[in-house]
Amino acid sequence: MSGLDWLSAIFLLVGAAFFLAGTVGLLRFPDVYTRLHALAKADNLGLGCIVIGLLFQADSLAAALKLVLVWLLALAASATVSFLVAHRAWRRGIAPWRADEPGIRRHDES
């Protein structure tokens, strides 16, 4: 495997590690807001690293640019949906998790 391939392999593995972090975050975090962090941040970074890793394997500039476009699109989609989910959750009255009162509470009742 040439130098370039090693570089690509490293980025791919780092990307996979971020995905793993995102999934572990999703499993461990208690409420929707924190899970949004896990999904929006970690997974997108993971996708970014994988895209960079694949850039090295791309056989033409056009293919490489298309990969970057896919990543940018994913970022835009992820940002919008994260905002909307958090916004709707708050409008629906779901309170962020608190250590002293675990469990799902409503912030508009208390």
């Binding site: 995905f19 996708l47 293919a63 896919v70 989609a77 919008t80 949906v81 009255g93 779901i94």
Partner: protein, 95 residues
């Protein structure tokens, strides 16, 4: 380790699929309806990464177009999720 890149892509594809399935199981089991909305996010990132890896693991560059459409449409399903499906009050009686 004489692993060439396409084998690595394939290995990571399996790893990501495992990630995706685990996350989907958690998300669809999630207590509040908001958790279920996260499924749309998942496909926007993990699904796209999976397709890109498959494309470079011998699946053909056409799968990059599929990933492009995935990313483009992840927003639509997510927006439809949050704007339209979740307007009725009774969703919250069962947080």
């Amino acid at each position: 380790m004489t692993m060439d890149l396409s084998a690595l892509n394939q290995l990571l594809a399996v790893f990501l699929l495992a990630n995706l399935v685990l996350a989907l199981w958690r998300v669809t089991r999630g207590p509040t309806p908001a958790d279920r909305l996260l499924a749309a996010l998942l496909f926007g990132t993990t699904g796209v990464a999976l397709l890109l890896l498959l494309a470079h693991a011998g699946g053909g560059m056409a799968l990059v177009d599929v990933a492009l459409v995935f990313a483009l449409l992840a927003a639509i399903t997510g927006t439809a999720f949050s704007l339209r499906a979740w307007r009725r009050e009774e969703d919250d009686e069962r947080p």
